[in-house]
């Protein structure tokens, strides 16, 4: 396959874009990608199952100090976890349940896992969503300003600040923000999330600091990547032609350059978002935010295997879906790939 790509056969007469039957090609493409996504998730499910099985006897871990004292619970948990069955049977049962949307029952508190994690999943989703909505314009904006002043003072200053921010662990950022805005210097914003029975965003001010922390943690990285892509694009022939055509610099940057720099940006943002979805443990800890990161650590600590499995699959699912969306967006925004599919 690699052979084809390298043939120095440029500028072949290209067939005009094909009309309606492009949609069939799109459906095929999406079906293929969905198939691969399902395959990936299936393999992840095997890994997750093996990993959770390898965690050792869950009952001892769950009961801890009480293992020897509470024989009834031991029997009950053995029953609930089907530990008498073979691993393969347990896997198939679990997978079957998963496919039916039945995530099992939490060992820690005997509630259906779906019900137990749904609010945390939603909370994390909203947190990540708001962060993304803030992150994308901020990161791209900074990148554009920086690229506009390429290698001059403002660019250097911005890049140094971004480097420093990138070097700061997010929990430190969070703690500093809390000290600054909630407890020590100003008393403007709530320090932690106290959701009670509702959702954190019922009180919007609660969301400010967690979102700010996440944005500060991720934006520098995204911004740096977008900047370097922008610089690459700004060096391209078509940007030079646009300038030689007399297009104002602002329009060059906004329309000609950004349009082509946005695709690598999407890839980075998607990777970061997938990471955020599963990895915001520190931020959730600092702000007591009831999300899936904290819940996962908690469940692992409790050896609450059904919850661990469900959360792992959700995190994997988010990763796969976000990637799929990012790929789709990249293709839609890159005319060359887009037309390659429909013809």
């Amino acid at each position: 396959m690699a052979d084809v790509a390298v043939l120095p056969e440029p500028l072949e007469e290209v067939a005009p874009p094909k009309g309606r039957h492009g949609s069939v090609a799109w459906i095929l493409w999406i079906a293929r990608r969905l198939g691969l996504a399902v395959l990936t998730l299936w393999l992840v499910s095997v890994l997750v199952f093996i990993a959770t099985t390898a965690l050792g006897d869950p009952i001892r871990a769950i009961l801890g100090k009480d293992y020897n004292a509470d024989k009834a619970r031991v029997a009950q948990l053995t029953e609930q976890l089907n530990l008498n069955e073979s691993a393969v049977k347990r896997y198939l049962d679990w997978l079957g349940g998963l496919l039916h949307g039945d995530l099992g029952t939490s060992i820690a508190n005997q509630r259906p896992v779906g019900q137990l994690i749904s609010s945390n999943v939603l909370n994390s989703f909203v947190l990540v969503l708001i962060s993304a909505v803030v992150l994308i314009p901020v990161a791209f904006g900074i990148a554009m300003i920086s690229a506009n002043y390429r290698r001059k003072r403002p660019d250097t200053v911005i890049q140094t600040i971004l480097l420093a921010l990138a070097g700061l662990p997010e929990f430190v950022t969070g703690i500093l923000l809390v000290a600054l805005f909630s407890t020590t210097v100003f008393h403007w914003l709530p320090a932690v999330t106290i959701a009670g029975a509702g959702h954190p965003w019922d009180q919007p001010s609660v969301m400010v600091l967690p979102v700010a922390t996440l944005v500060l943690a991720v934006a520098p990285y995204v911004s740096r990547i977008v900047r370097s892509t922008l610089l690459e694009v700004l060096d391209s022939d078509y940007v030079e032609l646009a300038r030689l055509k007399g297009i104002p610099e602002k329009v060059v940057l906004r329309k000609h350059a950004l349009l082509n720099a946005v695709v690598p940006g999407i890839q980075v943002v998607s990777l970061q978002l997938a990471w955020l979805a599963g990895g915001v443990v520190f931020v959730e800890t600092v702000f007591n935010y009831p999300g899936i990161g904290a819940l996962l650590v908690d469940s692992v600590r409790n050896h609450d295997i059904p919850v661990v499995q469900a959360l792992s699959m959700i995190i994997a699912g988010v990763y796969v879906v976000v990637n799929l969306i990012a790929d789709l967006l990249s293709i839609l925004l890159t005319p060359r790939s887009r037309t390659a599919i429909s013809s």
Partner: protein
């Protein structure tokens, strides 16, 4: 540390076995204890302030240590937030008061027969559950059965399940229950006063938990928060606040930040190093002595600890003062390898053990272990003091030529718990007999040191059957002497409880039993 011991002496003179009198006496006792706490505590706490407490409002309590494993089952609480929850929804037959003395609660009195085999429980009149149903002997029997069912006892009910004779334990009349035991047990009241023994109605359903506490259930999300409302039909002092929220925190810092930002009103288990910053920024502190201990545990049946000289040497190696100064930031009282400091039988006359490196070295070389090298197992799930004291012990042991390497187990309370040769553990405040039963007898559920001394066991058995307090105390002091000389625990101190609350909160008094005035939030106003 003079005050607590003085208190102990005073209280030891009390007639502990008999509680009589009704509500009046209970109120009086509570007042007396409040005076004790305020005056005798001497721990520098600002107390509750008393004065006029306003009704209404919402109190949000921040608790660390919760997780999705949180429970609201009155008989299975594990973590601090669990205990806070059950302490406000449910009540046992008796209370441990703020000075760690037995006080009447749902039972007006609990009295043993002369042979300590039959105990008569007289129920208080007019106590109703949250659903309006009065508390009956049937409920007590149901609860006893739920906690201590011999077939599947809860971990807290293990001791009870072994002694209660369920066939003979019966309702006597509408307000009296006779608890009959297989074997004599002279301190049953200790077990009945635990927070794990909340009385529940016969139709109890954990999904809609009904108790007799000053607050009633509204909602509960494991690992996040629970909401309780004031119970207007409470038999005792009704709550000031309309609602009580218990909010989980995974990080104490977040909890402190919430307190400083005014988002919560109380928090328990404040890390010692944050005391200054809390009080500087307007928070108030609540300090209380406790009998909670974080021992080193040595298995007496496994080399090298099977040699008593090695055990004694390690006890001599331990610099107890440094442990308290560093691991507890000074907030603790000295330990003498003995537990249950509030017990009237506490052997306070045994000489205080101090660090003695020379003596330790000579003991070790006599045992043929002059270059001893051992592994010390610890884990974060024991609590933050454990790894800190482990690190200190490593340094102290070096002075005696003992190499200690720390092994952190995650989880510590996993498969290997109770079989570590040399490890750590934590225990909350308990009196001597119940503690010895679980941790120092061969059949004890948590005999981590594998201590198995026939003479000791005999002393304990005799004491359990001895209703005469003075005689019993003598027996128990003899037992403690054995532990002091041969036991597998290194008990270097008892930690002080420090909690914090907001400037506007009134009515919370220090308690030796549980944090934040034993979590009795009905006394608090915001």
């Amino acid at each position: 540390m003079p005050e607590p011991t003085t208190d102990g002496r005073n209280l030891s003179r009390r007639q502990l076995f008999k509680y009589s009198g009704g509500a009046l006496a209970a109120v009086a006792a509570a007042d007396a204890l409040a005076a004790c706490g305020g005056g005798g505590g001497g721990s520098g706490s600002s107390g509750g302030g008393g004065g006029s407490q306003a009704s209404g409002g919402v109190l949000i309590h921040g608790a660390t240590g919760g997780s999705s494993k949180d429970t609201i089952d009155p008989h299975r609480p594990v973590t601090a937030p669990d205990i806070a929850r059950v302490s406000n929804l449910f009540e046992p037959l008796l209370f441990w008061d703020d000075n760690y003395q037995i006080a009447p609660a749902i039972a007006e009195s609990v009295e043993p027969s002369a042979d300590a085999k039959t105990w008569t429980v007289k129920l208080r009149q007019g106590v109703t559950f949250h659903n309006g149903k009065p508390v009956t002997p049937e409920d007590v029997l149901f609860t006893l059965n739920r906690v201590a069912n011999p077939k599947s006892p809860t971990s807290a009910g293990g001791a009870l399940s072994e002694i209660i004779d369920f066939d003979k334990t019966k309702k006597v009349d509408a307000s009296t229950v006779n608890i009959v035991l297989h074997t004599p047990y002279a301190v049953l009241q200790y077990l009945l006063a635990e927070y794990t023994f909340g009385i529940v109605p016969t139709d109890f359903d954990v999904k809609n938990p009904v108790g007799t506490g000053a607050f009633k259930y509204k909602s509960f999300t494991p690992g996040q928060s629970s909401v309780f409302t004031k119970f207007d039909g409470y038999w005792g002092q009704k709550a000031f606040v309309d609602e009580l929220h218990i909010q989980d925190f995974s990080d104490p810092n977040a909890c402190v930040n919430a307190l400083l930002a005014g988002q919560i009103q109380t928090m328990d288990n404040l890390p010692y190093n944050l005391m200054d910053s809390v009080s500087k920024q307007g928070g108030k502190l609540l300090q209380a002595e406790t009998g909670a201990w974080i021992p080193f545990t040595m298995r007496v049946d496994q080399a090298p600890f099977s040699d008593v000289r090695v055990r004694q040497a390690l006890r001599l190696i331990c610099d107890r003062k440094q442990m308290i100064a560093q691991a507890l930031a000074g907030h603790g009282t000295l330990g003498n390898d003995l537990y249950a400091p509030f017990d009237p039988a506490f052997a306070k006359d045994l000489p205080q053990r101090e660090q003695d490196i020379d003596q330790a070295k000579s003991l070790l070389s006599a045992a043929g272990h002059s270059d001893l090298s051992v592994q010390l197992f610890t884990g974060d799930d024991i609590g933050s003091v454990a790894p800190a004291s482990a690190a200190l012990f490593v340094q102290q042991a070096k002075k005696a030529g003992v190499t200690v390497s720390v092994v952190k187990k995650t989880p510590f309370y996993g498969d290997d718990y109770l079989s570590y040769p040399f490890a750590q553990d934590f225990w909350n405040t308990r009196n001597y007999l119940p503690q010895a039963a679980v941790s120092e007898l061969k059949r004890g559920t948590y005999n981590e040191t594998h201590f198995n001394n026939p003479k000791f066991a005999q002393l304990i058995a005799t004491a359990q059957a001895t209703t005469d307090e003075a005689k019993r105390n003598t027996l128990l002091q003899d037992a403690q002497k054995i532990e002091y000389d041969e036991g597998g625990y290194i008990i270097w101190g008892f930690r002080q409880q420090v909690d914090a609350y907001g400037a506007k909160v009134q009515g919370i008094k220090p308690s030796k039993y549980l944090p934040l005035g034993s979590y009795k939030f009905q006394y608090a106003s915001v």
